[in-house]
């Protein structure tokens, strides 16, 4: 603070006041529509009973204790982590490969390729899930093509087998989200000065060395961001499970969010239990993000 004159201070205060005035509407809305529901949900997660007559659970952590014994919840947890462990690495590696290819200065029709790879991201989640369901149905396009070119002897009922149904969801997720992550990589690659690569070439670095020694280290913060976002997104996966497979066969593809939805809207509504489950997801996202930040953030 260097201002000493009384008049300038009032001016400063006045500006400050206006600043706060402009912030208030947004702040109020965020508190009302975001923080208040979060706090309410936390309270409800300790309650039980009929939705319009919720009472505090006895003991308070009753809902959370039930979770450990809930077979369907554990199944949904396993499914979600299967998606996470298989899909996120494949998707991020693919996104990195596409970004590197599209960042090539000699490549023609760059705009066209970029649009093609990014376009899936512009499709609605429900719409693309339904299209994948049609493509992978018993008499669908995928079976027809695979049988015609001789890879399969007879059609597979993709969505009615636990493993292939999971595979279809993973394929769908990769198709939908690779382009999205690629855009992040591409934009930060473009901010790396091209002369760095020229210098590296003069020093005799090949394409692979350039990728691993220059591009990836410089992209580390953005890789961290995409990894956290993808983890977060996968843990909250809902549309694909609901629309592509309905969680079936026999809950083999149900996700945690889908099970929460069923608990609230399909089965006998149990608000407290559903809220407790959503807080478990929150904790998982927080823990996984913390681990990723710890592992990924090594700049000194």
């Amino acid at each position: 603070m260097t201002q000493t004159s009384g008049k300038r201070l009032t001016m400063h205060q006045k500006q400050n006041l206006w600043g706060w005035a402009f912030l208030i509407p947004a702040t109020v809305l965020i508190f009302w529509l975001s923080f208040y529901p979060m706090i309410r949900a936390l309270m409800i997660s300790f309650q039980g009973g009929r939705p319009t007559a919720l009472t505090w659970s006895d003991p308070l952590t009753r809902n959370y204790k039930f979770l450990v014994k809930d077979r369907v919840f554990i199944q949904s947890l396993k499914n979600t982590f299967t998606y996470l462990i298989i899909q996120v690495p494949i998707m991020l590696v693919l996104a990195m490969i596409f970004a590197t290819l599209l960042n090539d200065h000699q490549l023609k029709f760059k705009g066209l390729f970029r649009t093609c790879i990014f376009l899936p991201c512009a499709t609605a989640l429900v719409a693309y899930s339904l299209i994948f369901r049609t493509m992978f149905s018993y008499d669908g396009m995928v079976n027809a093509v695979l049988v015609k070119i001789g890879i399969l002897n007879e059609p597979i009922n993709w969505l009615n087998n636990p493993n292939t149904a999971k595979a279809v969801i993973i394929i769908a997720l990769i198709w939908r989200w690779t382009g999205y992550n690629m855009i992040f990589y591409l934009s930060s690659m473009q901010s790396i000065d091209y002369s760095v690569y020229e210098a590296a070439r003069i020093d005799g670095a090949g394409a692979a060395t350039q990728l691993f020694k220059i591009t990836i280290p410089l992209l580390k913060p953005i890789i961290l961001v995409t990894a956290i976002m993808s983890t977060n997104g996968t843990l909250q996966l809902f549309d694909e499970s609901v629309n592509l497979t309905k969680g079936g066969p026999a809950n083999a593809t149900i996700t945690m969010s889908h099970y929460i939805y069923n608990t609230m809207f399909q089965n006998n509504p149990n608000f407290g239990y559903a809220a407790a489950m959503s807080f478990v997801i929150l904790i998982l996202v927080a823990v996984l993000s913390a681990i990723q930040m710890k592992v990924g953030d090594k700049r000194e």
Partner: protein, 421 residues
């Protein structure tokens, strides 16, 4: 001045955001009825006829029929959290979900036990909307099960529809195997993740997933085991084709890749829309389970009832709903909707006894009303849908080769777990 205007604008925006969230359609006793239902060709069409007939006598009553999907009606009841200001005066509710809604949201539903006359409605049907001895629903359509078969395919294998009438499951499987061998066609199809067929067969012998007292009845349910056995046999022998979605199931009928189906009679409006197949279908009753106590050739699948919402224009709604005790009304809606009445006197109405051209002059509607009177009742309760999904999981695993007893025990545990809250 400018600042003041911008501040006012911001204030207006915030306020309008707030008030939009609290805006409510309709009010108490305003002489206007809002109605929610979900099928343009079926219950909406029926309500439109009721509206026309009612307004002919009460021209100043405004009736607004809105198309809201069942899933959305359910979410909106949940979102209302007991405050009926965002709900309509009358809404349609799936029979299987009725008790669940009333038990969880007693504030929302008006008790019509003393204000509506339930004589002449099928008893089993009315029971779906009774909670603690109180009536909450006015019956609409019956889900009486019919078996619809393609006569041309049966003929190819040397059978007529009479061979499939009043038969038991052993005979049915015999015919199904023979038909499959001679024509290569499966008899039936259905959704892999659903348990409709299993529950239809279970109810046909008076069985339920629940006991009278509301407790789960799965692992020691011999009827259920017999049904799952039959279902498993049909699927493994290729007599019943499992598909992944409802659209694919309808597809098997329209693409002519199955001989027929047995399910709720509402399927007939779909079959009758396949005009190129007119004259090739026949309707009869379903096969009865063999060697199971109380087995019949009759069952129920689906159906819905009307609920009157609390704190709305209840007197007007009740007066309007007298239409559902009116034979002329049922007669008028039948040709366009093929909604089968649960109001017994309707069966003598002219359209019910009229022959159906699509089904080669068979008076199918009178037949279905006759079937309806013979359907055994079953128990639903608040946890019906939990039980359905647990049973679906068990069924899928059993077809995958898992042991039936342990799967049913698992399913029972799953439901008991939810009920333990």
């Amino acid at each position: 001045m400018k600042k003041l205007i911008s501040l006012l604008l911001a204030l207006v925006m915030v306020l309008s955001l707030g008030s939009a969230a609290f805006a409510a359609p309709g009010d108490q006793a305003d002489g206007k009825l809002t109605i929610w239902c979900w099928d343009q060709t079926f219950n909406i069409a029926a309500m439109n006829v009721a509206k026309e007939m009612y307004q002919a006598e009460h021209p100043d009553v405004e009736i607004d029929i809105q198309e809201v999907l069942w899933e959305d009606i359910e979410s909106r009841i949940i979102a209302s959290n007991g405050d009926t200001s965002t709900l309509p005066d009358i809404t349609l509710i799936q029979d299987n979900a009725f008790q669940k809604e009333v038990i969880n949201y007693p504030e929302v539903f008006y008790d019509i036990t003393d204000s509506y006359d339930f004589t002449d409605f099928g008893e089993a049907k009315v029971a779906y909307s009774v909670v603690d001895g109180k009536n909450y629903g006015i019956p609409f359509d019956a889900g009486t099960v019919v078996a619809a078969w393609r006569t041309d395919y049966l003929e190819e294998a040397g059978y007529t529809v009479d061979d499939l009438t009043d038969i038991d499951m052993d005979r049915f499987l015999e015919i199904a195997r023979d038909v499959k061998e001679k024509t290569g066609m499966p008899m039936l199809s259905g959704e892999a993740g659903a348990v409709d067929t299993v529950l239809i067969l279970l109810q046909s012998c008076g069985g339920s997933m629940f006991n009278e007292d509301g407790s789960v009845n799965m692992k020691d349910n011999d009827k259920l085991k017999a049904v799952l056995d039959v279902y498993n046999t049909m699927v493994t022998e290729g007599l019943f084709i499992e598909v992944n979605s409802w659209d694919e199931y309808i597809g098997t009928l329209s693409n002519q890749s199955v001989v027929g189906t047995f399910t709720g009679c509402w399927i007939l409006s779909t079959i009758m829309s396949l005009t190129d197949q007119a004259g090739k279908w026949a309707v009869t009753n379903m096969p009865a389970m063999t060697g199971v106590e109380d087995a019949t050739n009759y069952s129920n699948n689906g159906g819905s009832s009307w609920a009157i919402i609390n704190n709305k224009d209840i007197d007007l709604a009740l007066d309007f709903m007298q239409m559902y005790r009116n034979v002329d009304f049922y007669d008028a809606i039948l040709p366009t909707t093929s909604a089968i009445a649960c109001f017994t006197p309707a069966k003598d109405a002219p359209n019910y006894t009229a022959p159906s051209e699509f089904f080669n002059g068979d008076a199918i509607f009178a037949k279905i009303v006759e079937f309806g009177a013979l359907v055994p009742s079953n128990n639903t309760g608040a946890y019906y849908y939990d039980a359905r999904s647990a049973l679906a999981t068990a069924k899928t695993n059993i077809i995958g080769g898992a042991d039936m007893d342990s799967e049913l025990a698992n399913a029972e545990d799953t439901i008991n777990f939810t009920m333990g809250f």
